[in-house]
């Protein structure tokens, strides 16, 4: 699974992109976020309020119950501020 982090999530986590192989019980976006939080203080800080974390799977916005598959591209980022 490919993970991408943007804006202040990237800054807090300290990496822009990584490949991970989460345990089999991580089958949804919500489970992935909980698993990531436990990977270190940067993750815990970046993901402490998941209500303000937006998630895209394969470049489409998804809700927290969205199912995940091993080959997915999952991006985590704050609310967008373009335009």
């Amino acid at each position: 699974m490919k993970l991408l982090y943007f804006a202040w999530l990237r800054a807090k986590i300290g990496i822009a992109e990584e490949r991970v192989d989460p345990p089999p019980e991580v089958t949804t976006v919500a489970a992935l976020l909980e698993w990531l939080k436990r990977r270190g203080p940067g993750f815990a800080e970046a993901l402490k309020d998941t209500r303000i974390v937006r998630v895209a799977v394969n470049q489409e916005y998804v809700a927290s119950d969205h199912p995940l598959r091993p080959g997915d591209e999952v991006a985590l980022f704050p609310p967008v501020t373009g335009g």
């Binding site: 943007f6 895209a56 991006a75 501020t81 373009g82 335009g83």
Partner: protein, 150 residues
């Protein structure tokens, strides 16, 4: 047409290209977003626009397609820049061309309202107190919500 690019764009040339040879167009409404030197109380030196390559283009193409579904448009244009931009520089150009003026206005407003809440861009401002990520605006959510169909 949509484009995501680091370089500046030529507004006159872009709008000209949008309507060229299409003599059924009665009006073109466009919006140019610029970097301001002040945001609320904070003086801004410059800002850096980060984006999610790939997803950005997909979202903008969907916004363009949705505008075409909602209004009778002859052409739609979205150009959005990324990278470091100084006050006064252009960030974004959206435009809608239609036989009918009101359709052009409504579609153009829809384009920028949806872009602001949907397209994966983030602004990092350079302020006297150091770099600062711009917060999403509740007013932008409210503006976008106008276009949600019941």
């Amino acid at each position: 047409m949509i484009r995501v690019q680091r370089e500046d764009f030529d507004v006159g040339a872009e709008l000209e290209a949008l309507t060229r040879g299409k003599t059924g167009i009665g009006g073109v409404t466009s919006f140019i977003g610029l970097v301001r030197d002040i945001a609320g109380e904070r003086r801004i030196g410059a800002m850096t626009l980060e984006h999610y390559p790939g997803m950005t283009e997909r979202r903008l193409a969907e916004i363009e397609a949705e505008a075409h579904r909602r209004w009778p448009l002859d052409a739609v244009l979205i150009i959005h820049r990324y990278g470091r931009l100084e006050p006064g520089e252009r960030i974004v150009l959206v435009a809608a061309a239609s036989a009918h003026r009101q359709a052009a206005f409504d579609a153009c407003q829809f384009l920028i309202d949806w872009l602001k809440t949907q397209a994966p861009f983030w602004k990092l401002e350079e302020t006297p107190d150091g770099p600062r990520w711009v917060d999403a605006q509740a007013s932008d959510d409210a503006a976008a919500a106008r276009w949600i169909k019941d």
